[in-house]
Amino acid sequence: MAEKVLMKGNEAIAYAAINCGADGYFGYPITPQSEVMETLMKEKPWESTGMVVLQAESETASINMVYGGAACGKKVMTSSSSPGISLMCEGLTYLAGAELPCLVVNVMRGGPGLGTIQPSQGDYFQATKGGGHGDYRLIVLAPASVQDMYDFVDEAFELAFKYRNPALILADGVIGQMMEKVEFRPKKARRTDEEVRQQCDSWATLGKPKTRERNVITSLALDPVVMENFNIKLQKKYADIEANEVRYSTYKTEDAEHLIVAFGCMSRICENVVDMARENGIKLGLLRPITLFPFPKKQIDALVPQLKSIMSVELNAGQMVEDVQLVAAGRVPVGFYGRQGGVVPNPDEIYEAFLKFIK
């Protein structure tokens, strides 16, 4: 029987990082995710696995430390919350432009600006549409439980290295702060220097041996034709990710006539809404995108013919709903219910909004 431990989502991120063989964590304190670095500092993984943990002078420095480490083929990560992620967006576009694998965790809080420390999903656009400049994408995983927080660390690293692209765990203050049972997965050892060289020597800055050309990590190309070709290559990669890496789950969608789409903590709450509707004879189902990029377009599209309505439920003013509308393409009414600024709705008010919408 695997070990099960009661812990916060933020703590699960830290333990998962150590246990999956991460090489480095660079961070800056910000509520509601400071427990990630606090847990790492308490556990001192530099004494056990050799993992480097460093408190940086800013989120800007953190993400650039991640760039430096990732460019050496190391499994490196950072975590922050919304205002800090805004600062990191410069680094994220450079990481994407230099095709570097890394993990960034955003435990979202309400904004805009300094906002609040209470939970939010207001960074959906930032996470899935850019945030930084230029045409780039992050692989975005949205956890709905503390177990997800643990499991997605390793999964995000795997995806990041598979595609040489930054991966983002887009959590929210609820998932970061709540405590649940977590099952620890079998530990992975950190890769040896030799293993890193085997995996990454074709591109990473490991020190140039006589036997190969120098490796240069850059996102710069002044020649517009070269830059366009690079952009086309990036877009091809993103298309591959969309074709192969969609993750989602459904709840009672087989016979559903109405669908709620919700991610993260809202998908947990909306399961209750589905049950309430079913008790009242309304065939409601739930689709939870687990990857926000790639978005489960085909999976929602396949459900549209059987549906009379779709409602997107989010902790924001309506962001993912735009992606749902694009899939629905006017074939079925698409509604939205959300709370903002750190307020988390209860199932009753969502159900009430749903009834009003389908009336």
Binding site: V52, T60, M65, Y67, G91, L206, T218
Partner: protein, 253 residues
């Protein structure tokens, strides 16, 4: 006796460093970058650490440093090189890690990264080219631009009340516990070139001794940005830059 009688190994007194590539440098004639690149290459070659060295290039004229030194390189976002170098060195303590940065990159947009990497005592080398102007973007005011100096954004000369004062960041860094070697050099004549090379060598050697950060400023010319010919630029540097940015070691422990 013809030229082939002269070209013999025993007659060779100088050669291009094997760490320099054959790429033609994009730097303007008279620019100090070419000389400093050469010195870094020579130090890497003489220490036999080409396969153990990772460079971080900045944003600015030397963004393309990676085209000229045949080592593994990372190109950083503007000002962030010391953050990259921090992680590279901590994750690869057996490697020699250096940043190569201009004054805008290091002393303006990257001041925080510079100060904190030095204050943590990262075992890295920072090479700082101070030519008191933004070269690549066309000669705008830098944090190190002298009072009265004319630039594209101080067309009537830098005025303290409008633009603040030139930043002596090297003096600031010398105050930090984390730095072990802080020096200011130049490359306008052979004697200065030799001193700068010795400084770069010492800085690289320090980075394996866990003594802290080594910081080598090179007061440099930018004749294109200053809009004066190379020889005059050297003279202008000696007469105007050196009094405000005096050469020599500020710290060596």
């Amino acid at each position: 006796m013809d030229i082939n009688d002269i070209i013999k190994p025993e007659n060779k007194v100088y050669g291009k460093s094997s760490v320099l590539t054959d790429n033609i440098m994009h730097y303007c004639p008279g620019c100090s970058h070419g000389v400093v690149h050469k010195l870094v290459a020579q130090v890497i070659e003489e220490m036999d650490i080409q396969d153990k060295t990772i460079g971080v290039s900045p944003v600015g004229c030397s963004v393309f440093a990676y085209n000229y030194l045949d080592i593994d390189w990372q190109e950083a976002a503007h000002g962030r090189a010391p953050a990259l170098a921090t992680a590279i060195k901590r994750l690869n303590p057996d490697k020699y890690v250096f940043t190569y940065q201009g004054d805008g990159d290091l002393a303006s947009i990257g001041t925080a990264e510079t100060m904190h990497a030095c204050n943590r005592g990262e075992n890295i080398v920072i090479i700082f080219i101070n030519n008191a102007i933004y070269g690549m973007t066309g000669g705008q005011m830098a944090p190190t631009t002298l009072l009265g100096q004319v630039t594209a954004t101080t067309p009537y000369g830098r005025k303290a009340e409008l633009n603040g004062y030139p930043l002596k960041i090297t003096e600031l860094l010398a105050q930090l516990e984390g730095t072990c070697y802080v020096t200011r050099q130049s490359v306008q004549n052979p004697a200065a070139v030799r001193k700068t090379k010795a400084a770069i060598r010492k800085a690289f050697e320090n980075s394996m001794m866990k003594k802290g950060t080594s910081f080598v400023e090179v007061v440099s010319t930018c004749n294109s940005g200053w809009k004066i010919p190379p020889v005059e630029a050297n003279k202008w540097m000696e007469e105007n830059m050196f009094p405000f940015y005096p050469l020599g070691d500020m710290k060596d422990r």
